[in-house]
């Protein structure tokens, strides 16, 4: 099984090949299902001028937020960038470029990128600042704008379990953008809580088939909670 064994043993190896100026697609929504150790490795590697595609940019001091500290991110493509004072500061200072993209359009852009669809039409954003400069076309009397897909040099993904062949399943709502990012990276790296033998995952229940995955690593996760809300 050597040819399909995607398991790597170190985070250095997991992110090997990432260089200045690359585009990185990151799974996660808020702090849920984020590849926290892969992000930490990017910080450690000190690569800069990254374009990062992720729904959010973490918070101050955790998640993608840590990449702002040393200004490793040149540009963010995100739907929501609140909850982050350093982000705000860099944005207002003109040190950070931000391309705000509606959440559903962002998800579809990554899926399309992975699926060989270079562009699609959506009603989302028509008539708003998001639609400015984009082609408008009518289908059945409704107006849509043309959105182009996104691919990345790297995709960094947080899974729950993966087998050694890179088949991945996600846990609860930690799925979010992860399977979409996974399809659209030239090199897709998945960190998981548990690595199992091929055959242990039910073939019909795999969220990300191994064909999309280049490297798998087992990590330990803090899983910080952004809004702890409980009932009595």
């Amino acid at each position: 099984m050597s040819g399909f064994n995607k398991v790597v043993d170190s985070y250095e190896e997991a992110m090997a090949g990432l260089t200045d100026g690359m585009t990185v697609l990151a799974g996660g929504f808020g702090l849920c299902g984020i590849p926290e150790n892969l992000i930490a490795q990017i910080k450690k590697s000190a690569v800069k001028d990254l374009t990062v595609v992720s729904n959010n940019c973490g918070v101050d001091g955790f998640g993608l937020g840590v990449l702002l500290e040393d200004r490793q991110i040149k540009k963010m493509i995100s739907s929501y960038v609140g909850e982050n004072a350093l982000f705000e500061k860099q944005l207002l200072a003109g040190e950070l470029e931000v391309e705000l993209t509606p959440q559903g359009t962002l998800a579809e852009k990554m899926r399309a990128g992975g699926a060989g669809i270079p562009a699609f039409y959506t009603a989302t954003g028509f008539g708003t600042p998001v639609g400015e400069g984009k082609e408008v076309r009518e289908f059945a009397d409704k107006s849509y704008i043309l959105e182009e897909s996104i691919t990345g040099d790297f995709a960094i993904v947080k899974g729950w379990k993966a087998d050694k062949f890179g088949n991945v399943i996600y846990r609860h709502t930690a799925q979010n953008f992860n399977p979409l990012a996974a399809t659209a990276g030239k090199i897709t790296v998945v960190e998981v809580e548990e690595i199992v033998e091929p055959g242990e995952l039910d073939p019909t229940q795999i969220h990300t088939p191994g064909i999309y995955v280049n490297r798998v690593i087992k990590g330990n996760f803090e899983k910080r909670i952004e809004q702890r809300t409980v009932r009595d």
Partner: protein, 218 residues
């Protein structure tokens, strides 16, 4: 008197039907879940990838992997499904959600809505709001009728950058329930004790007032 947040939520909840799939935005819309009539059931869609949102977890149930679109820890209801963000927005964009309730800064007689950005102040991003307003056929906007400074939020043309164009036709404010049709607001119901004159005075956009405007009863 202007309706409370709870009263607004109660009135919105009367639009719910048994078997509705509903997406509730942050703020007043979230409260709607507390006022679902006893004799019906609805299923809440959370755009991060959860259909069938349950109550907040107990302390021991809290799970970092189980959150809603507001990033709050939640539980899954019986019969829930959990999926990717692409699948979630396929539901939303594809018009499969029966009712969407969300807040706004402004709406106008063209059915435009502005809810995500105030130039010069902080831009946090639109999140899923643009997809929600573009994809849904049945949207209720909830907001105060006027700003703290008394400026109407119901306009002939939104002044802020839009979230969606021509997609809104129902607005519930603290003063009134209005529908948007033929480039005008149509006053359908008024808050208990609120006069038509007050609503007229606080509505900047073209307003059509029918002969009879019933009071909302609680």
């Amino acid at each position: 008197m202007a309706m409370s947040r709870e009263q607004i939520a109660t009135r919105v909840a009367r639009e719910l039907k048994d078997g509705y799939y509903v997406n509730l935005g942050i703020g007043i819309p979230t409260l709607v879940a507390n006022y679902v009539p006893d004799d019906i059931e609805v299923m809440l869609q959370s755009e991060n990838g959860l259909l069938g949102m349950g109550p907040f977890p107990t302390d021991s149930e809290v799970d970092a992997d189980m959150i809603n679109a507001g990033k709050q820890t939640v539980t899954a209801a019986t019969g829930a499904s959990i999926f990717s963000s692409a699948e979630s927005f396929a539901m939303i964009r594809g018009g499969h959600v029966d009712l969407t309730v969300l807040g706004a800064f402004e709406v106008d007689v063209m059915g435009n809505i502005a809810s995500w950005m105030i130039p010069g102040k902080l831009i946090k991003g639109m999140g899923g709001a643009m997809d929600l307003v573009a994809g849904a056929d049945n949207i209720i906007v909830t907001m105060t009728h006027a700003s703290k400074h008394g400026e109407s939020k119901l306009l002939d043309r939104c002044s802020l950058p839009l979230t969606g164009a021509g997609c809104i036709n129902k607005v519930l404010t603290d003063l009134a329930y209005l529908e948007i049709k033929d480039q005008a607001f149509i006053l359908k119901e008024r808050a208990p004790g609120v006069s038509v004159d007050e609503i007229v005075a606080k509505t900047a956009g073209k307003l059509i007032v029918p002969d009879h405007v019933p009071e909302i009863e609680f």
